[in-house]
Assembly symmetry: C2
Homo-oligomer: 544 residues x 2
């Protein structure tokens, strides 16, 4: 429905009502904010610690623990849910002012909820559930009763607040979680730059001139800022892994159907016959936090709430005791690895090999990753009604800049049709068989591969996520592990002059940006991948 | 590829080479065979026992045991694999002569295999696996190395024998099974009369003038004739349940993806974007035999052989100890239950209620089952290339008669397209949610419903299987349980004069035909359904 107001006015009004939910005392001074813009090279990670708005205890709560450690203290009564929530609300408010990572702010509701959880613990003598008192942030597309889910469309700003929770939200609340904010995403969710015309662009706290990634980009920036101990996103091409990679935290895309997906606000049309389906996954600060999320949700029989959720309980599997067998996919010739990522991949695999694990190169044994990504995009573009464009038109809003960078020129004349869809499915199945057979024949525990050919890159240059969409095409679980940082000095040995870097490699522009690797598990073996991640974590000792 | 010969000659030659594989000594005399034709009212179930071709031991082996019992004796060395195989080969040969249930005959290979299994047991002192020495029959669409899989298309008769086993065939063999024959199915597999132009029509051994059902109709007749202790079919609309219902044995359709489906010869185009997918299921003589099949296959990690198979182990669940909560779906107004089926449903639910189980009527709480079946057919007819017709044209063969009865007039002008496919998926999801919520809110263990509105009916009158396709639409596991028989005398109290029976009810034509019920479990809870079936089996005490 087109509004009388122009889109700028609608968006400005939404942002103002948003900003008003940040208490005066939590607002950063102008001398800090003057450097906050998308061409600033500033790293803003230290500002929460130094700005004086957080108490020492709040700094300690937000910086020194992962979610699992916080939950132990919350359950033991060593920390109050109220204090933990207040600390993360304050820090999320700072993150918002520095990176524009939030959409909906629910601080007031969160603090009230935390208070009632503290009372619960005092009265009953035991926590409400395994997530008792833990603040959790959600991608904007999740529905929380009473809160809007505009997913960044101007036309959705006139929509009423959600009347029902997403299935996952009901579960998280039933287990004692506190929901303190929702986070930013890209227009249409189909680009890796989290910019939309309602909430603007999320900046990368490691360096504001770099992308925060997408589509769960707000979460990536918020988590790196430690404005949340645990975040939840969705992923169909890398959306819970790209922002962790860009910002330097952990992300996990489970096998499709394990976490209940229903009751969300979709950015496009429901009912797609695509064989590549979206799923929900956690983002956080440690391997054990990812497992905590998966285990807690699956222990709630989520299939009772969602007809699309697989009724497969979270299996108890033993920690890995034998040396791992890790397949290695290094790079696709169409998207050569930037020096910093090549160094991260080499350093990680060397360290894993040194620790006694087998690295099995798979080079040359799988079809072009670039072509596989094209196939994925053919599935993503199936809707003849082009529903996302319809939503944009209804709001009279322009395209964000990065959408133009998220297309394959090979698909310029692509018109989806039913006949081709049969062939696409056959092609996808062939690809699945290749990876299936590689895993079985080499007895692999997981595959190590890049998350992306580069670190976070300057805004609107990320392009197509060919490395992250591969696990979606074959429906394998996959994790983003932060590891090392771009360093002009250390990376120079990995510069190759005989290849073209896409996007271009600019050592100065990305100095200090987080690097990372991707670890891909076996389908429906999310439980096993968690144990593999812990082994890799022990070797690589990544910090977030 | 069109052949020079006419289709009749090609088919006759295939059938002759088939018939030649039945040893002279196993051939029935003409005075028995003269009554074997599709308008005969004859029940041929007793002929194997009375014709003098089987020894007393062979009669005992084939009639007095289910697969589980046979396997116990085989493993203990009380029965030789060779003797068991010989007994079932002989009886399958008789079944073939009486009902035309077989396609490929593998007696020679089976006997050689059985001999080697006996040697294995003697040498190693232990069976090869949990299926050691058990003859198993397979629907024709399974590939067995060295054997054709024509699936009843004339044009496929010129195809070479399979060069590889289906994934499931490899698994069954690895566990010690003996494969003694493949069984008949309908042209295109999309009708419930197992007739095709290569192998002809399978007759119902309970009464030759009745359909044996489809599409796994050959199995249904073979199992009822006790020419096999365990059969395997495929199901997308009822194909492993309709023939059990028509013939009076057990059948089970698991949740999609649990049994590896790859490496079969499809009757249509691969890569369908349908949301309703085919699956493989067992047919046999007891609830425990269905469980034996499922457990044995899943214990082999079948996902190692098939990239499309869900890596979800067979869960060990306790037998049901509490009274069951069973939802009841009685009938759809468009296809009222024939008197015999109404009596079977009433008698079964009364008996279950008397045994202390709760029967919860669901009438009026779900969408039209008839409309749901129309939706399913829209998914089945998605292929714009109409590949099955192409295969038929290549063989210059005509349609079998029943195909004309397996269409919805509502879909006469249906042309599938991508845009509608989105809406079809949304509609399907709504239906899934209705059943999901009914099961959750009523805390149901299973749903009891009809298999079909009638017993087996005269050839080419079965029409559309609206009751069996429902579990396929929502992807719930479902079993066919044989129960009672049509009896003009007992059924007359259930005749209603104010409704129209479709197909028409003719008490004399179906006298003595098996009746049955369908029991639908919860998705991915195949393990639990097995326990529920055993409870129901204890109450209803069905015989096969």
């Amino acid at each position: 429905m087109a509004s009388d107001k122009n889109w700028q006015a609608i968006a400005a009004s939404k942002r103002e009502s948003n900003a008003a939910k940040i208490p005066e005392a939590w607002r950063l001074p102008q001398d800090i904010l003057k450097d906050v813009h998308n061409s600033s090279d500033k790293n803003v990670l230290d500002i929460p610690r130094t700005c004086g708005i957080l108490t020492d205890q709040e700094i300690d709560i937000t910086e020194k623990h992962d979610a699992t450690a916080l939950l132990e203290k919350l359950a033991a009564g060593e920390l109050k849910a109220y204090d933990v929530t207040l600390a993360f609300c304050k820090r999320a408010a700072l993150a918002q002012q520095l990176t524009s990572c939030l959409t909906e702010i629910m601080f007031e509701e969160a603090l009230a909820r935390a208070k009632s959880l503290d009372e619960h613990l005092e009265e009953k003598g035991k926590p409400m559930g395994p997530l008792h008192g833990l603040p959790i942030s959600l991608k904007d597309s999740f529905n929380v009763k009473g809160v809007q889910a505009t997913v960044g469309y101007v036309s959705f700003v006139s929509h009423p607040p959600a009347s029902q929770n997403s299935a996952l939200v009901d579960i998280l609340l039933s287990q004692g979680a506190v929901l303190h904010c929702k986070t930013n995403l890209p227009q249409t969710m189909m680009t890796a730059d989290s910019e939309n015309n309602v909430f603007g662009r999320t900046l990368n706290p490691n360096r504001l001139s770099l992308t925060a990634g997408g589509s769960t980009g707000g979460e990536g920036a918020l988590l790196k800022m430690r404005g949340s101990p645990l975040g939840v996103g969705t992923d169909i091409a890398g959306s819970v892994r790209i922002p962790p990679h860009c910002n330097g935290v952990w992300g996990f895309k489970p096998t499709v159907g394990r976490i209940p997906f229903s009751g969300k606000t979709p950015p496009g049309r429901m009912g797609s016959p695509s064989s590549i389906l979206p799923c929900i996954g956690p983002m956080g600060h440690s391997a054990r936090d990812l497992e905590l999320f998966m285990k807690t949700v699956l222990d709630c029989d989520p299939w009772q709430l969602d007809e699309g959720c697989l009724a497969v309980p979270w299996r108890r599997v033993e920690p890995v005791s034998k040396p791992l067998r890790l397949g290695l996919i290094l790079e696709d010739p169409k998207r050569p690895l930037h020096p910093s990522i090549m160094r991260a991949m080499r350093t990680a695999t060397d360290a894993l090999r040194d620790a006694g694990h087998a690295i099995i190169p798979l080079e040359g044994q799988y079809p072009s990753i670039y072509e596989t990504a094209i196939l994925a995009w053919k599935f993503f573009l199936l809707d003849p009604a082009k529903t996302p464009l319809k939503y944009m038109k209804e709001g009279n809003e322009p395209f964000v800049a990065s959408l133009a960078t998220s297309r394959f020129p090979e698909l310029d004349n692509y018109e989806p049709n039913l006949n081709d869809l049969f062939d696409m499915n056959v092609e996808r199945r062939k690809i699945m068989k290749v990876y299936h057979d590689l895993v079985v024949q080499n007895q692999l525990d997981a595959i190590v591969m890049p998350m992306y050919q580069a670190t976070a890159v300057p805004h609107d240059t990320y392009g197509l996520p060919i490395y992250t969409v591969l696990p979606n095409v074959i429906d394998y679980p996959a994790a983003a592990i932060p590891f090392l940082k771009a360093s002009k000095d250390l990376d120079k040995d990995f510069v190759r002059s005989d290849i073209e870097y896409l996007p271009p490699y600019d050592a100065d522009a990305v100095e200090g940006a987080p690097c990372g690797i991707q670890v891909v598990g076996k389908p429906m073996r999310d439980e096993v991948l968690m144990k593999v991640l812990k082994v890799i974590e022990d070797v690589l000792k990544p910090t977030t």
